[in-house]
Amino acid sequence: MKEVEEKEEASVYQRVVLKNASPYHYLKVRLVLEDDSTRLSAVELKYFIITGLKSLYGEVGAALNFDVLKYDEDTLTAFLRVYSSLVKLWSSLTLLGSYQNQACAFRVLQVSRLNPLPKNM
């Protein structure tokens, strides 16, 4: 009897419903600068975003958990991953208006809960 049960278990269907399983949000953003020739490194970009967070939300905001997953220096396009507080990161990106005394804007291209990057990257 036990054997039969085990056999059945092997082919059993399992229905799992996950609600908000992924704690992350992913953003694809592009930085548009007034002067097209300016280039930022990935470190500078992350520091710039942290500055924006700090000016809007203070020290607590600056401690927000986010990563720059992939960054293309030529097009100034970056994939950001943020842990659980998308609204804070997004609003601070929206309100960032100047980088080193030149006007700039973050254009948020896509927002997703699924990882937009393939596994091997």
């Binding site: 000016s55 609003s91 309100l95 208006g97 006007a103």
Partner: protein, 301 residues
């Protein structure tokens, strides 16, 4: 499907600046924008109310809206900065040239009057200074009942951190009194880089204390309501109006009269339906009775 609108893009005298702002707005996905002409009356001398420049004179070809493959719609809007009750002249013929009419009151008395009495579409809430008065429930409820909307513009918050503080504080106190209903968010951007996309604005509105749904409405359907309100103001509260769109009679039908009488009957029928439903303010422009041309009938209840 609600389309996104930005009902406050300041009119810039420099043509290339204006062009780049309009192009950026179209690129970001705004289907409609309103060019804002600001009129600030002073007590000393009588000034001219600005007249809107037709958009085809400013920009040769309107840019396409991203994702909709149709050109952006550009409206004209007048904002009157009021510091005295005499500054707003009801029934001024100059106001008729504009699609939208807005006021920015600077005192509590004027704010009350703007909410309850004046025939306007938008009330601007100042974002660059500390709120000169408290919002009271009564006038705000009155304005919501009349269909007047409140406007919050965000570009001052991008420019300066002090302005950001005022913007958030003023917006939050407004949202508390009107509970997030009939509020529109607009840019007031002087440069193309101060414009933000509609979803960015929606997210920013969460910061101002709006709920998710209200935030999206503030850039789409509330703006549409404001436009329709402006339409009723321009047509003397008319709920039905007809305009003639020049279109040639279909080829092949030699007798155009049957076609026109058929259309005429439909038009009368719709008007009768409107009257039977007891929409008491019906305006029919009898001078425009159909004569073989194509008619659009728009109903707004």
């Amino acid at each position: 499907m609600a389309v996104f609108m930005d009902l406050n893009v300041p009119f810039l005298p420099d043509r290339s600046d204006l062009r780049s702002v309009v192009e950026t707005a179209a690129h970001l996905g705004f289907s409609t924008i309103a060019l804002n002409y600001v009129f600030e009356p002073t007590a000393k001398k009588k000034q001219e109310i600005p007249t809107p420049t037709p958009i085809n004179e400013l920009i040769d070809q309107l840019p396409m809206v991203q994702g909709r493959s149709r050109p952006i719609r550009v409206l004209n809007r007048l904002t009157v900065l009021m510091s005295d009750a005499s500054h707003f002249r009801p029934n001024a013929p100059e106001y008729r040239c504009f699609d939208l009419l807005a006021v920015q009151p600077t005192s509590e008395k004027l704010f009350h009057a703007a909410c309850m009495v004046y025939d306007i579409d938008i009330i601007c809430v100042p974002m660059t200074e500390k709120l000169p008065f408290f919002f009271k429930r009564a006038p705000i409820n009155g304005a919501i009942d009349r269909g007047v909307v409140f406007e919050v513009s965000y570009s001052a918050a991008i420019r300066d951190s002090t302005m950001r503080r005022y913007t958030i504080a003023n917006a939050v106190s407004l949202m508390e009194s009107c509970k997030g209903k009939s509020v529109i968010l607009s840019s007031a951007a002087q440069k193309a880089l101060e414009l933000r996309g509609p979803y960015d604005v929606t997210n920013l509105a969460l910061l101002f204390g709006l709920s998710d749904g209200d935030a999206k409405e503030a850039v789409s359907s509330t703006c549409r309501a404001a436009l329709l309100h402006a339409e009723t103001r321009r047509t003397a509260s008319g709920i039905i109006y007809t305009t003639r769109s020049q279109r040639e009679a279909p080829q092949g039908s030699e007798d155009g009269r049957f076609e026109s009488s058929h259309l005429y009957r439909r038009y009368r029928c719709l008007c009768c339906v409107a009257i039977e439903l007891q929409w008491n303010k019906v305006m029919m422009s009898e001078s425009n009775t159909p004569s073989g041309l194509y008619y659009w009938i728009v109903i707004y209840a």
